[in-house]
């Protein structure tokens, strides 16, 4: 295998890993503050991509600068999904806190279905895959046999910046401190005067913003989005979060890249090749859960009775 092809695989794996990590961090954040899994998170990713596309379709006649369009597309996706995340937390997750966990699970699964179906039914021609506009420069840099596309590098850099920013936000700001406090011990956090509801809503907004970004990134990278893409991203993002240990956002990042690496290696090494790549991915999810049900880093496992 030559360097060029290898480089292509590495870039592809990194891109996948970045997307998975962004989704996984969302799952981990939600689990941290509320101990719930928000199963519609994958569809929030789709929602972000489609919100971005809608902004683009609405503005492309008016604006011609693609960088300005890109900023507006991102803002549209981010704002819409932040609001959606808050709505899901307020309307569905918080009211069911005292109900059995199964109900929250079903509720968020169904919320995901509502979101997915709404996109399919109400987005113009939504049941077909949609072309996502290439808003980044399509120039490529050639390094010997290796060609690097500028837009891919920009996406990777943006993703890394976002995750780095998340890290700074969680560790260096008062709000981040509040989120960590709630995640660690809700009651103590409440008695120290942390507004629990607000922190939860904020966390859901942040997680959904990351998902929106992952959605737009997915669109820019593949130049195509469809209403069902969130299902795969959600399942893999959740597995990545579990793999890294739920509630631990660094674990989520690690899990995301690990999973992407596994998938890329699988795609290269498996003789059956690309047709079975999703089968392989889901099989790996199941095997990993069988092997390490609570992740590589491990979740506190004891149970209070």
């Amino acid at each position: 295998m030559n360097i060029g092809l290898l480089g292509q695989y590495v870039i592809n794996g990194m891109m996948l890993g970045m997307m998975y990590a962004l989704v996984a961090v969302g799952f981990s954040l939600f689990f941290g503050v509320l101990d719930v899994i928000q199963f519609s998170h994958g569809d929030v990713v789709t929602g972000g991509a489609f919100a971005g596309l809608a902004v683009y379709l609405g503005l492309r006649g008016v604006l011609h600068s693609s960088s300005l369009l890109l900023v507006l597309v991102l803002m549209g996706a981010v704002v819409a999904m932040a609001l959606l995340g808050i709505a899901i937390a307020r309307g569905l997750v918080l009211p069911l806190r005292s109900a059995p966990a199964l109900n929250t699970l079903l509720l968020t699964l169904m919320a995901g279905t509502v979101l997915r179906e709404s996109i399919r039914l109400f987005f113009p021609n939504g049941s077909q895959p949609q072309r996502f506009p290439p808003l980044l420069s399509e120039r490529a840099i050639a390094l010997g046999s290796l060609t690097l596309r500028v837009d891919n590098l920009l996406l990777l850099a943006a993703g890394a910046t976002l995750i780095g920013g998340m890290h700074l936000f969680i560790t260096r700001t008062r709000l981040g401190l509040a989120i960590r406090a709630v995640a660690q011990d809700e009651e103590t956090a409440r008695t120290s005067g942390i507004p629990f509801r607000k922190v939860v809503l904020l966390t859901f907004a942040i997680g959904s913003v990351l998902a929106a970004f992952a959605g737009v990134m997915n669109g820019l990278y593949y130049n195509e989005i469809n209403f069902g893409m969130g299902l795969l991203l959600g399942v893999i993002g959740f597995s990545a979060a579990v793999l890294g240990g739920l509630g631990n956002i660094y674990g989520g990042i690690l899990g995301g890249f690990l999973f992407a690496g596994l998938q890329t290696v699988g795609a290269v090494a498996l003789p059956l090749a690309s047709a079975y790549k999703d089968v392989f991915a889901f099989g790996v999810v199941i095997l990993l859960m069988a092997w390490r049900p609570t992740g590589l880093i491990g979740e506190r496992a004891s149970e209070r009775v």
């Binding site: 509720l107 597995s239 999703d278 859960m289 049900p293």
Partner: protein, 384 residues
């Protein structure tokens, strides 16, 4: 119990069954969208009114004392409706489909409603049964009744591959495993060429004791559509499964399953073998789902990956939920409505997943016990 009260209970049970049968027949009979809407509105108003004055509750309470009467009555009711619509292909097909979905949901009910083992891959297990039936009937000469059983066994067997991860996890993690399996199955049959790929597989009709199920049924002057065969077989299967599930639930096995569902840790500390009961429920449930899938494949005569998607699994879960988790009767009613309405009301067809998901959200938010809540366990004729 005085004989008098027993009689009035039995009467209540029969009345309830008669009303349900009449309602079902009426829904099958009307054709235009408007007539169906008016009928549904009428049923809703009557049900709401009866619920308000308390007739419905007392009727149900009385009727539930006589489960055997309801069961026999419902079985006869299905046969009667099947007889009335004997020449109407479409109605019979719908009845058959309702019955098979009920059968699958009974399996799901064992897993989900009784033992609390989540399964979001029910459509995939349904598909495993169907594909097994297609392959076995096309490539071997195994009698078709055995093919149905093999469909169930294949489904149970593949389900048992998931048991290890499922037993080591619970709640969200277990849900993730079944979701991943459902998606895996769908992509697998889509890319696997020997299983027909995206185009799917065709099946020849069911044969049983020299009887060709795809031939018209004729007895003297009475002719019936070939779907009648499937309706009869499916109603027998549903009846068997129903008796099995009800017996199981009212036995100490059901008690063990209840204990595990309600609190695994407490159940384990009281000496219940959590793993054993979960395995039992999951395997038996998948067996029923697989049998339903196999017969459904014969009845439809065609299989494609698109019939076994994640939203289909969620639809089956919605049926179990709408009927009130853990209530087998409610489940049958919910299966009827969920299968029939989108077929009858063409406007609903496209929006059905959205509608079911929305309905389930509303129910979980505002009526978490389901439309018809789980009945209390009864001992020696007294409710606990």
């Amino acid at each position: 119990m005085e004989p008098n009260r027993g009689f009035s209970n039995r009467l209540a049970a029969l009345a309830l069954v008669a009303i349900a049968t009449a309602g079902a027949a009426a829904l099958l009979w009307v054709e235009s969208d408007r007539a169906i809407l008016i009928l549904l509105l009428g049923i809703a108003i009557v049900a709401f009114g009866a619920g308000r004055i308390g007739i419905l509750a007392s009727l149900m309470q009385k009727a539930l004392q006589q489960r055997r009467t309801i069961g026999t009555g419902a079985f006869l009711g299905i046969l009667l409706v099947g007889f009335v619509f004997r020449e109407d292909h479409f109605s019979l097909f719908l009845i058959g489909r309702v019955l098979l979905i009920t059968l699958a949901c009974l399996g799901l009910h064992l897993e989900f409603g009784a033992a609390g083992v989540v399964n979001f891959a029910s459509a995939a297990f349904f598909g495993v049964g169907g594909y097994t039936a297609a392959v076995l009937s096309a490539r071997t000469g195994i009698p078709h009744l055995l093919v149905l059983v093999s469909g169930g066994c294949a489904s149970a067997l593949i389900g048992s591959l998931l048991l290890l991860p499922l037993l080591r996890t619970r709640g969200h993690y277990a849900a993730l495993i079944t979701i991943a399996f459902g998606l895996l199955f769908r992509t697998f049959v889509e890319v696997n060429d020997s299983l027909g790929g995206p185009q799917g597989l065709k099946l020849n009709g069911f044969k049983f004791l020299g009887l060709q199920f795809n031939d018209e049924l004729a007895a003297g002057p009475i002719h019936a559509s070939f779907y009648e065969n499937y309706v009869l077989l499916a109603s027998v299967l549903v009846a068997i499964a129903f008796v099995l599930v009800q017996r199981l639930e009212s036995s100490w096995l059901g008690l063990a399953l209840d204990a595990i569902r309600l609190d695994e840790v407490a159940a384990a500390s009281f000496g219940f073998e959590v793993a054993r009961w979960k395995i039992l429920a999951f395997t038996l449930g998948n067996f029923l789902i697989g049998v339903a899938g196999a017969l459904s494949a014969f009845m439809v005569g065609f299989l494609a990956p698109n019939n076994f998607t994640f939203p289909e699994s969620l639809t089956l879960v919605s049926i179990v939920l709408l009927g009130g988790i853990g209530n087998a009767w409610g489940l049958a009613v919910a299966a009827f409505l969920v299968v029939l309405l989108p077929e009858k009301l063409q406007i609903l067809q496209e929006y059905r997943y959205l509608l079911y998901a929305g309905l389930v959200i509303l129910i979980l938010r505002f009526r978490p016990a389901g439309l018809i809540p789980r009945p209390m366990r009864r001992y020696l004729g007294h409710s606990a």
